[in-house]
Amino acid sequence: MLDIQSLVASIGDEPILNGLSLHIPAGQVHAIMGPNGSGKSTLSKVLAGHPAYEVTSGSALLDGVSLLDLDPEERSLAGLFLAFQYPVEVPGVQNEAFLKMAYNAHRKANGLPEVDAVDFADALSGPMATVQLDDALLSRALNHGFSGGEKKRNEVLQMALLAPKMAILDEIDSGLDIDALRTVASAVNNLRSPDRSFLLITHYQRLLSYIVPDVVHIMVDGVIVKTGDPQLALEVEQRGYDWVTAS
């Protein structure tokens, strides 16, 4: 599914990723934990094509397709989805209209006819129920004035709607109360399937109690320094990152 080899990336003159390698097979959920500033969010932004980051070497393949050669929209259409840590507010763009545009862009890329408003409402109803987003937020401007929890639900709504092959969830648990966390985790778990993979980026083991990963990685200074099973997250929670770097 996702195969990253020796990825080196920087912002300005500051190197963030220093030869990171990561392989996520189809159907698996991987989690990356790490201290602040270790490059976790940078990894997600580089994979989704943020314009501020420059990749100087390495590769990232999604089912054999080189993501780094694609524009951000082409990566999305190739099946990559990033749930943003800080979803961007876009005043003036209605949420539902945006969702329909994104949905139709994916249908078009898959050779399917675009849907009208009625058919789109049908397509949206399932994901809406899953994330329990207030209907009123559909007619508001995209993320504009949404609470932290509403923004995260809206991210997961987009993920459920666009049905990506590979979803990266960047601190999907931050800003969520416990009920919202359960809802979001349940929505993610519902989307788990043999042909879909997830990469969870988080600071806290708590998320991993709700979305149980197959593999846990610890990232420090732009590289993966330790890989293990979910037990590793519990150990880090108890002993801190110093233990990882010392061991």
């Binding site: 580089v46 989704a48 094509g49 943020h50 314009p51 501020a52 980051y53 420059e54 990749v55 780094l68 050669d69 524009d71 951000p72 929209e73 990566r75 999305s76 259409l77 990033l82 943003f84 979803p87 961007v88 876009v90 005043p91 003036g92 763009v93 945006f98 545009m101 994104a102 862009a105 994916h106 890329a109 401007a141 987009q158 666009l162």
Partner: protein, 341 residues
């Protein structure tokens, strides 16, 4: 009859307009039957214009309109709700008294310079939408005296014009009079678009909001020059000015001149101006969901525009046409570049 005692903002010496047409003496103004002057719309009546100059000699409008070389003048009395479409091919000025008007849309498609003057005492809710979508110069000017019960919404959109000016002068006379000005400059090539406003709060507890937005492209120029005057005794005035500008090219320029003159206590006035480009983060966010590079870019421009005029009170189809035309004009399929190699 209204006779503004306040100075009318900035059009006494518009040399940049004079080059578009030779000056015409006022006495050459003729009746609206002159061929080439096109004014159509439901419920309109027209009368010879001599009355205008009897009433207004030496006042704001002759000063403002003379430089356009208005060879012909049309006096138009609109119905309570109507659309006036200007389609002439000779310079003219159209004078519209606003008494009794509820909802007025003016669509200017004239191929010659056109001046529009709106004036009158307003003691009722009024909305005026002016849509200019042609390369010919245009000058729209108002002198509205807003009294008790007066609630004025002015929407002015200029697109394509090589030289366009909307000059809104309003005097808020009685308590709770309200004026809302929503302006939109859609600049292309070498267009120069100006919105000037002179709002004078004379009565207590009067309120006004101004939002004038511009989108710049090519080497276009946009200027907002707005003055809010709060007279002695106009306590409780609440007046705001906002002027956000979106520049799409490095050659486009925007100038903002908000001014406050406050001679009363206990007033709330504020102004703010911003200049920005299309946000890289917003653009990337939309693209990360599969929207095309050019499509997302266009969507963000449209969002900026729609956010300025959330409810278009005039002819929606005409507004959509102007908006679509503009987005098409500034669309660039090669905008941006592949960011991450």
């Amino acid at each position: 009859m209204i006779a503004p005692s306040t100075p009318v903002s900035g059009l006494k010496d518009p040399r940049w307009l004079a080059e578009w047409a030779p000056l015409a003496p006022l006495h050459q103004l003729t009746a609206p039957s002159v061929s080439g002057v096109g004014v159509t719309g439901g419920g309109l009546t027209t009368t010879p214009p001599s009355f205008i100059w009897d009433e207004w000699a030496g006042d704001a409008f002759p000063h403002a309109l003379t430089p356009l070389g208005m060879g012909h003048a049309v006096w138009v009395t609109p119905a309570a709700h109507c659309t006036v479409t200007l389609t002439g091919n000779v310079p003219c000025c159209v004078v519209i008294p606003m008494a009794g008007v509820g909802n007025l849309t003016i669509v200017n498609q004239a191929t010659a310079p056109v001046g529009v003057a709106l004036w009158g005492d307003i003691n009722q809710p009024v909305s005026v939408s002016v849509l200019h979508d042609h390369t010919a110069p245009v000058l729209v000017t108002s002198a509205l005296r807003v009294g008790s019960g007066g609630n004025v919404t002015i929407q002015g959109v200029m697109s394509q014009s090589v030289c366009g000016v909307m000059d809104w002068t309003c005097q808020l006379m009685a308590p709770h009079a309200h004026v809302s000005i929503q302006g939109l400059h859609l600049g292309t090539d070498r267009s120069s678009l100006f919105t000037r406003s002179w709002l004078r709060h004379d009565g207590p507890d009067t309120t006004a909001t101004q939002v004038v937005k511009s989108v710049g492209h090519g080497k276009s120029y946009s200027e907002y020059d707005g003055t809010v005057w709060v007279s002695h005794g106009a306590h409780g005035t609440d007046s705001t000015q906002r002027n956000p500008n979106l520049l799409l090219t490095s050659g486009a320029r925007a100038v903002s001149k908000p001014q406050l003159r406050i001679y009363a206590d206990d007033v709330t006035c504020g102004h703010g101006a911003t200049v920005s480009q299309v946000s890289e983060d917003e653009w990337w966010y939309l693209r990360s969901r599969g929207l095309s590079r050019a499509g997302a870019y266009s969507l963000l421009i449209e969002a900026f525009i729609r956010d300025s005029i959330p409810t278009w009170s005039g002819d929606m189809a005409a507004f959509q046409t102007v908006l679509s035309g503009y987005l098409h004009a500034v669309a660039d399929p090669n905008i941006g570049s592949r960011h991450v190699k």
